[in-house]
């Protein structure tokens, strides 16, 4: 059989001779010079999780400071620096690029391609991201930016933030922005042109749909923030006054430009996580995804509507009521496609035969947590109500339910689900489940009470609060929760480090997956696939398994029932 295939291949492909072929570099040089999408994907994951840990440590320092009123752990300047660096890190250096990391690793594998369309550009986009992050983090040794990750002028202007921190931030936005744009163009080119034979739009995995939409959103939204930060840079150093009211500019222009990018950014951060769990839930429920078309269509709908809601971040600014009403209604509308996704995921579990493995825990938690962020989002979209809740801890709670409960739980589901493919080893189930429960309990303990803190009148971004505000208990609970959450994350990191050498061997298809990445070995070879199968449905691996089963004699299937069902 083996020899036959090899002989046939020799017949089909003419022999190719290569002169002066240098051997593949080994060791760390292999990582430095790689253009392999899988290695780049792993570099992305490694770097972004490093930033995730840094951002997490910053969050823990903030929570420690707020555990009690009148705390003197950090001063106001340091606290504002922590607020700014934490937000910037999590948005620009963790969630957006970690999704690019998963996309890099998985897109070619899931669509049956041998690499991304532009492998060198792919490497460039990783290195730009890393240097953007390093440039930004250098500022903590001098003077980190203190104007919040939204960097509203005039506070971020040179008269009020003279230090170089804001400039480091601008530099980082440009570097990671170019990185994301290059990456997005690469995803678009790859997904449009390099899908396996038979993989029509209607048979494309839902994760690929979300990466495609993620890419288009980046291409549409990033230029706005690139323009805005360039204007801020010239305001700061070259005497322009785009945002400076004393020179005829307007601070509100920044807010419009920033949020025109900033709100699509939320969907950039959350849609690929939705895509991941749309892959994971059906695999463990042993059922096809419920309403494939509706989920794909709602992804596109959310992206489109996501471009029309930016001013709901500006309800407290001097703005005409008709504008406020428009942005309230557009924000309401976005709840419909989001709701559709949640209903579809639950319907996917309905009448399933659910196998409870760690990736499934994280994936199933996502709709449960995201619905809380979605509901508080609808409450915040009612602009008179937002007048009370805007810029309070209610918003902090809301955004963490969306970005941690939504994105990060999705990312962890993805990590547990695809780690065996990337490393060839299984992560420990015991540690995984422990990590899940600690993260789930810790997360809710941290952020549920923050709704109440905000309702009681605690604004966000304050380094201290008054005992008389009545939020002391909420803050203490929240701090305890944050540490449980952090320990949960630590358990996963230990799990990864431990399992990368000692984990159980995964085999090609440990979960009985639906998509093509499970067709190849774990980890996949440099060229991904020797033969690319023809795709006949949304679940090509199911078809392949069925075919294999049909070809095997029935007696043998009865004799070895445990083999494919090793779960």
């Amino acid at each position: 059989m083996e020899a036959g295939t090899a002989a046939r291949r020799q017949l089909v492909h003419p022999e190719v001779l290569l002169r002066d072929l240098k051997p593949e570099p080994r060791g760390w040089l292999a990582w430095l010079t790689t253009t392999d999408h899988k290695k780049i994907g792993i570099l992305y994951l490694f770097a972004t999780f490093l930033f995730f840990v840094l951002g997490g440590v910053e969050a823990l320092i903030m929570r420690l400071q707020l555990a009690q009123p009148d705390s003197t752990l950090v001063n106001a300047e340091t606290y504002n620096g922590l607020v700014t660096v934490h937000g910037t890190t999590m948005v620009f250096l963790f969630i957006v690029p970690v999704l690019a990391g998963f996309g890099n690793y998985l897109v070619p594998l899931m669509i049956g391609a041998r690499d991304m369309a532009f492998p060198r550009l792919n490497a460039l986009s990783f290195w730009l991201l890393l240097f953007g992050g390093v440039a930004f983090y250098c500022s903590i040794f001098f003077e980190p930016p203190q104007a919040g990750w939204t960097m509203y002028p005039p506070l971020s202007d040179d008269s009020f933030s003279a230090g170089g921190g804001v400039d480091a931030w601008i530099f980082m936005i440009h570097l990671t922005g170019i990185s994301s744009l290059i990456g997005a163009v690469n995803f678009v080119a790859t997904i449009h042109n390099m899908r396996a034979p038979g993989m029509s739009w209607g048979r494309m995995p839902l994760f690929i749909w979300t990466i495609l939409v993620y890419s288009y959103l980046l291409i549409i939204a990033l230029p706005a923030v690139a323009a805005a930060v360039t204007m801020l840079l010239t305001d700061r150093h070259f005497g322009t006054a785009f945002f400076d009211p004393t020179g005829g500019g307007d601070p509100l222009l920044w807010q419009h430009l920033f949020w025109f990018f900033g709100h699509p950014e939320v969907y950039i951060m959350v849609l690929p996580a939705f895509g991941m769990i749309s892959e994971i839930l059906p695999v463990f429920a042993r059922k096809p995804i419920f309403g494939y078309r509706a989920i794909a269509a709602s992804t596109v709908a959310i992206a489109f509507l996501g471009l029309l809601v930016w001013a709901h971040h500006m309800f407290a600014t001097p703005t005409a009521t008709v504008v406020l009403a428009f942005f309230m209604l557009s924000s309401f509308t976005i709840a419909v496609p989001t709701g559709i996704k949640i209903f579809n995921w639950i319907a996917t579990l309905w009448k399933g035969s659910i196998v409870f493995k760690t990736p499934f825990y994280f994936a199933a938690a996502l709709p449960g947590l995201f619905v809380i962020g979605g509901i508080s989002g609808v409450i915040l979209a009612i602009f008179p109500v937002d007048w009370q809740l805007h810029d309070t801890y209610f918003v902090v709670a809301h955004l963490h339910y969306v970005l941690f409960g939504g994105s990060v739980f999705g990312i962890f589901a993805g990590l547990y689900y695809w780690f065996p493919k990337m490393s060839g080893r299984m992560l420990s189930e015991a540690l995984g489940k422990l990590s899940f429960w600690m993260m789930f309990i810790g997360f809710n303990t941290t952020f549920l009470v923050q709704h109440s803190a905000g309702l009681s009148g605690m604004p966000r971004r304050v380094y201290d609060y008054d005992e008389s505000l009545g939020v002391t208990a909420y803050n203490l609970i929240s701090t305890i929760g944050a540490f449980i959450l952090a320990l949960g994350v630590l358990v996963t990191l230990i799990n990864v480090v431990h399992s990368i050498r000692n984990g159980k061997r995964a085999g090609n298809d440990p979960w009985q997956g639906n998509t093509l990445e499970w067709f190849t070995t774990s980890p996949p070879p440099a060229n991904n696939f020797d033969t690319i199968p023809r795709v006949r449905s949304v679940e090509p691996m199911k078809d392949i398994r069925r075919e294999v089963l049909a070809r095997t004699k029935p007696v043998e299937t009865v004799a070895q029932p445990a083999a494919p069902r090793s779960l």
Binding site: K287, M328, G339, V371, I382, P384, V385, Q388, P459
Partner: protein
């Protein structure tokens, strides 16, 4: 178990609303617009709780009920159900239509300042019926106060023939509609006294409006708040207090404050003159 949970939640909401209101609803009680926002929030919250229970209930139930067991048949291979999917799309849209209607019903009362009450500052006490005051629509005038955010204090400019301003503490008569014209002179600040209604950003170069009207029975009460937009290192300490007094008390406070300002102005002018004398050769 879920029913018990729902019952417990409902019991909490029904039985001890006053004790728990603080934890679950925005601050209110100092002004009708704050009360209306509170009501609007509560209506939304009730709708939200129902949706929350349905979604989480179905999710948890599916997870428990459809766990893989040997005795149970294999998963049912359903790929979708168009009527069901259309159904929940329409249902979600309808809920939002209801919320929209409710919001627009409450909006005018939240946005538009009402007229001052009979126990409020009267036009006859016309310290503030000066030339720069717009004609009161109903005979009972507004009190228009300029609010200016500055790193890290609030300044209030009161209307009247004499120069009258204060820092940090805003003194207002009860039962009188107070319209605030909020701006800022350095960076963006946000004016927020939770019990007196929503926040408005003070943006340099813009004037933003809000209002409140403290009921007559709240004489002597103070309402605290703080800046709600990150405005620099001392943002957390940029606080403000609104002090509700009776109209007559307001009048006498205004007189005293204005005289104080005039006197210190004179003193300053004299000092300046003295300095000039010193400086000149």
């Amino acid at each position: 178990m879920l029913a018990a949970l729902a019952a417990a939640l409902l019991a909490l909401l029904v039985a001890a609303p006053s004790a728990l209101a603080d934890a679950f609803t925005p601050e209110s009680g100092g002004s009708p617009n704050a009360d209306d926002i509170d009501t609007l929030y509560k209506i939304t919250l009730y709708v939200a709780i129902v949706i929350f229970l349905i979604v989480e209930g179905t999710l948890i139930w599916s997870l428990v009920r459809y766990r893989k067991r040997r005795s149970r048949p294999d998963a049912v291979q359903i790929r979708g159900n168009t009527p069901l999917e259309l159904g929940w799309t329409v249902a979600a849209a309808l809920i939002l239509v209801v919320l929209t209607v409710v919001t627009f019903l409450y909006l005018p009362n939240i946005e538009n300042p009402p007229e001052s009450g009979p126990e409020g500052l009267q036009a006859s006490q016309t310290r503030f019926a000066s030339v720069d005051q717009p004609p009161p629509p109903s005979g009972r005038p507004y009190l228009r106060i300029g609010v200016n955010g500055q790193q890290y204090i609030w300044r209030f400019d009161y209307p009247g023939k004499r120069k009258l301003f204060s820092y940090h503490t805003l003194v207002v008569p009860v039962d009188t509609t107070v319209v605030l014209e909020v701006t800022a002179s350095d960076v963006i600040h946000s004016w927020w006294i939770p019990e007196l209604g929503g926040k408005v950003d003070g943006v340099p170069g813009h004037v933003n409006e809000t209002w409140f009207k403290i009921p007559a029975d709240q004489v002597g009460k103070t309402f605290d708040g703080q800046c709600a937009e990150l405005c620099g290192y001392n943002h957390a300490d940029m606080r403000a207090t609104v002090k509700a007094v009776s109209p007559t008390e307001y009048e006498s406070w205004a007189d005293q404050q204005a005289s104080g300002i005039e006197e210190s102005g004179k003193l300053l002018a004299e000092q300046r003159k003295g300095r000039e004398g010193e400086d000149s050769p």
